[in-house]
């Protein structure tokens, strides 16, 4: 792996903490957010949210567009103090929309001037208006510190997930049930991916208790401690909440191998099953699935007679997993780009993939670095990444497959990428791409 130079001036390819926090909140059903900061940050969040393929489940009467109330801080608020703006916003949102949950986010400005925002949010139900107070009291309220100088989007997403543990309640543990943690519910095909993981787990005798987060209702969040095991699907997003739940509820957790490709899916199932004492089932299921899906994959990819070259750019778990899947399907992957530094588990997977020296992994590169690396390796046919990689792809003469956030020019992606079925679906996509079938 090649961490890029420690530059004093860096052209960022990763959004800030606020972005991730907002994405996480949008993935909770009947949750409303309040942004405590200037309107420019709020508009940026709104613009990003407009690309999300999974529409948030707002309580009525919120409209069908992304909706992000803001306290719209200005310079005069800094000088005079924003007083109780945030508390009044929390009261107002609770009264007008009656959400199950309100999550308030801070901005750089609010953090620097030392707003006691947590207190303000909690005080929302103590307003002078009795009706408002009553309404505010019905919604659970959380405060998440999301000043953008404190981290990247993965930190924001993880922070919201971890904050949700405050809402969880002690529940009798149900054996052979798992939570899937670190799922980004607004990623392309997230629902299909979750369905595939559910199917795989059910086949070995385990049930999914809660998914954090993908249109997750508050009741599921509250009941999350009922799971007998937390399975961290994406380490960078899910590890903090797994650790928080272990501390508070003694729920054990497992940072699983990203379940991409036949090998990755089988290893994922082996690991989860081993933790639940279902090893024998996993062995049987893996054999059956690998045989069945392997046959399908061969039928799709058998006609691809010219070697395909691809690169993957995204978050560590996604990159490591997808690169493995592509490699398994016969695609040569000479370069991958990790938008954020990998945790220990994702780093291990990346090392496994790149350890033979045939693939270079760039960590937090600028697009210019990524472009250089792609040119150095002789170019690729495809880049699997986000819409932000469009100019890199154009410069290197590759086709961009937008398959991670933000994906803009994608009308639908309703097949899984994860699991055994995901491997077959990707083989089918590659086969179509090889024959230039776009319809």
């Amino acid at each position: 792996m090649y961490p890029t130079a420690d530059r004093a001036a860096r052209d960022p390819i990763t959004p800030g903490m606020l972005s991730g926090a907002f994405r996480a909140a949008q993935a909770v059903a009947r949750c409303m957010t309040i942004f405590h900061g200037p309107q420019g940050c709020q508009e940026n969040l709104y613009a990003e949210a407009c690309f999300v393929h999974e529409q948030p489940e707002y309580p009525e009467p919120a409209a069908g567009e992304p909706f992000l109330p803001s306290t719209v801080l200005t310079d005069s608020d800094l000088i005079m103090g924003p007083e109780d703006k945030l508390a009044r916003a929390a009261t107002g949102v609770a009264r007008e929309y009656r959400p199950d949950l309100i999550i308030a986010f801070s901005s750089d400005a609010a953090e620097i001037i030392g707003e006691d925002a947590k207190n303000l949010v909690q005080r929302a139900d103590e307003g002078s208006d009795g009706a408002a107070g009553e309404a505010a009291g019905e919604a659970h309220r959380l405060w998440v510190d999301t000043a953008s100088f404190k981290g990247s989007w993965v930190d924001g997403y993880a922070a919201v997930l971890a904050a949700l543990t405050a809402l969880m309640t002690e529940t009798p543990v149900r054996p052979l049930t798992v939570n899937l943690l670190g799922v980004a519910g607004d990623e392309l095909g997230a629902r299909a991916d979750i369905a595939e993981l559910r199917r795989m787990l059910r086949r070995v005798g385990a049930e999914v208790n809660a998914v954090l987060l993908c249109h997750t209702p508050l009741a599921a969040i509250r009941g999350a401690p009922a799971a007998s095991l937390n399975v961290v699907v994406a380490e960078e997003l899910g590890l903090p909440v797994a650790q928080a739940m272990e501390r508070r509820f003694k729920t054990p957790y497992l940072v699983a191998t990203p379940p991409y490709g036949l090998a990755g899916a089988a290893r994922f199932l082996d690991e989860v099953a081993a933790a639940l004492g279902l090893e024998e089932n996993a062995r049987r299921v893996n054999e059956q699935e690998t045989r069945a899906m392997g046959a399908k994959i061969r039928s799709y990819s058998g006609f691809i007679t010219v070697p395909m070259r691809a690169s993957v750019c995204g978050e560590p778990s996604f990159v490591a997993g997808l690169a493995g899947l592509l490699s398994e399907l016969g695609v040569y992957v000479p370069v991958v780009a990790l938008r954020t530094p990998p945790g220990p588990s994702a780093a291990r997977v990346v090392e496994d993939f790149t350890g033979n020296g045939e693939c270079a992994a760039l960590v937090e590169p600028e697009h210019a670095d990524y472009l250089d690396a792609l040119r150095d390796c002789g170019g690729v046919d495809y880049i699997f990444g986000s819409a932000m990689e469009q100019f890199v792809a154009a410069d290197v003469g590759a086709t961009l497959v937008e398959c991670t956030y933000p994906a803009v020019r994608v009308l639908d992606w309703d097949e899984p990428t994860l699991g055994f079925c995901g491997a077959a679906a990707m083989a089918r996509r590659l086969g179509r791409a090889f024959f230039k079938q776009v319809m």
Binding site: D11, C41, Y46, A89, F149, L411
Partner: protein
């Protein structure tokens, strides 16, 4: 330079007469919370400097600030933008970001070898009080860049992109532009052009250049998009500035008039036939070239007549909403009126008094009395559009992607498009777009109808339009 003008800064809802009274009162109050949609000064300043060849904007702030501006430009306008950033972290907030800025300026100078480095100051260094000017003064002798500018582009004081445009243009006027030794006859600057690259929006300015050439007026500089730093230096050679839109006809245009004696005219953006005529004629009148302009206008009217009639056939009598940035709104009011629409709702972001005046003038010309919403919550705008039974939409679909796509409104989108729309040539494209949206889009639904979200929304923002018009 005063960027804020003596007009109320806050939301407004009412009719034209009430807007006049509101402007005169100078008073506005903001609600404690709402959902406005307007980017901050950083976006405006970033776009100005990112569009100049030989200039590099350096964002002094956390990486998230730089990424967001980059994201908006890349996704919405379809061209790459360098956004080097000092990447302030928690330590910098505590200890100050000046040392980081110093190193970043030197690195930007070494890496990009620009002629101009513009340090864009965001909220964080503004609040903690980083002395950006002092840092730039210190490093001036160590860099190869000829110009080092500091521009305040925080979102707390500069809470609209118009503020950012004006602050950045003022920086260019005060630091880069050189006194003109000669003044070029019949020359203008297209002032406040901000779209670089080869996106459709960027091609509009070349259509305007060609349109002016038809009456014998030549473009000295496009300030700044598409220009090199050297072109900006020479901008004061022009006889006249033609600001791109209302907000561009504000403080920066006045500053250039004071500093270099370059006056400006302020026509609405040239969308549609009437606006294009007015735009051309305002320049022609300044140079005494009305006769030539009338000939061009007559020829273009003949050429566009069949298409205009076809577009009118689809829209005449429809209840229309006009929404967007203040510059586009004034133009779109006239365009919608020209197409025979009944304008029921006009919605715009926070702007300057000059921009509000343009809107009021346009409304008065139509003889209609629409409901005017300024800087209102997006939810309120959507609700109002639904309540008014709007059938046609003029303006940014970016702000209401799902509403725009799912309703299938007969609409003229002015922010994301794949062919130029301005001037007479662009007008033909715009009219074809209107015909397509009003007569060919399947499954049209009335405004406010809810439907499935997701893919159409994504398609609207960048992808879909591209496919339809590619």
């Amino acid at each position: 330079m005063r960027l804020k003008e003596a007009c109320p800064e806050g939301p407004f809802r009412g009719r034209a007469a009430e807007l006049e009274a509101w402007l005169a009162s100078g008073r506005a109050s903001r609600p404690d919370w709402y959902h406005p949609v307007r980017v901050c000064g950083l976006f405006g300043a970033m776009r100005i400097f990112a569009s100049i060849r030989g200039a590099v904007p350096l964002v002094h702030g956390p990486p998230g600030c730089a990424y967001f501006q980059k994201f908006q430009v890349v996704i919405s306008f379809g061209h790459p933008v360098p956004a080097p950033c000092t990447g302030m972290g928690e330590n910098d907030v505590i200890h100050g970001g000046e040392d980081r800025l110093r190193r970043a300026v030197l690195e930007v100078d070494r890496r990009y070898k620009p002629r101009l480095i513009a340090v864009l100051n965001t909220c964080t260094p503004m609040i903690i009080g980083d002395d950006v000017a002092a840092v730039l003064h210190d490093v001036r002798g160590e860099v190869g860049a000829r110009y080092l500018l500091a521009v305040n582009a925080d979102g707390l004081q500069h809470y609209s992109q118009g503020h950012g445009y004006n602050a950045a243009l003022a920086g260019l006027i005060e630091n880069v532009m050189q006194p003109a030794g000669i003044r070029l006859e019949r020359s203008v600057n297209l002032f406040g052009e901000v779209v670089g690259g080869d996106a459709a929006l960027a091609r509009d300015k070349f259509l305007l250049r060609d349109m002016l050439a038809r009456i014998g007026v030549y473009v000295n500089a496009m300030v700044p998009a598409g220009s090199a730093v050297e072109d900006i230096e020479r901008a004061p050679r022009a006889r006249l500035n033609v600001p791109r839109c209302g907000p561009m006809a504000g403080p920066a245009a006045r500053l250039m008039r004071e500093r270099f004696d370059v006056p400006f005219v302020s026509p609405a953006m040239p969308y549609g036939v009437a606006n294009s005529e007015r735009w051309l004629m305002s320049v022609a009148e300044f140079f005494g070239l009305e006769e030539g302009a009338r000939r061009v206008i007559a020829a273009e009217r003949r050429r566009l007549r069949p298409l205009l009639a076809q577009a009118r056939a689809g829209l005449a009598g429809k209840r229309a909403a006009v929404h967007g940035g203040p510059g586009r709104v004034a133009a779109n009011i006239r365009f919608a009126h020209e197409l025979g629409c009944r304008i029921e709702v006009v919605s715009l972001f926070f702007a300057t008094e000059a921009a509000y005046r343009q809107v009021l003038d346009a409304v008065a010309e139509t003889g209609q009395d629409p409901l005017i919403l300024i800087d209102r919550s997006m939810e309120e705008v959507r609700r109002t559009v639904a309540e008014q039974g709007i059938e046609a939409w003029f303006g940014n679909s970016l702000d209401f992607p799902a509403t725009y796509m799912q309703s299938g409104l007969a609409a003229f989108e002015t922010l994301i498009y794949q062919v130029p729309y301005e001037g007479f040539i662009g007008c033909a494209n715009a009219l074809r777009h209107v015909v397509h949206r009003s007569q060919h889009v399947p499954l049209a639904r009335p405004a406010g109808a809810r439907g499935t979200a997701g893919a159409p929304r994504a398609a609207c923002r960048g992808g879909g339009e591209r496919r339809w018009h590619g």
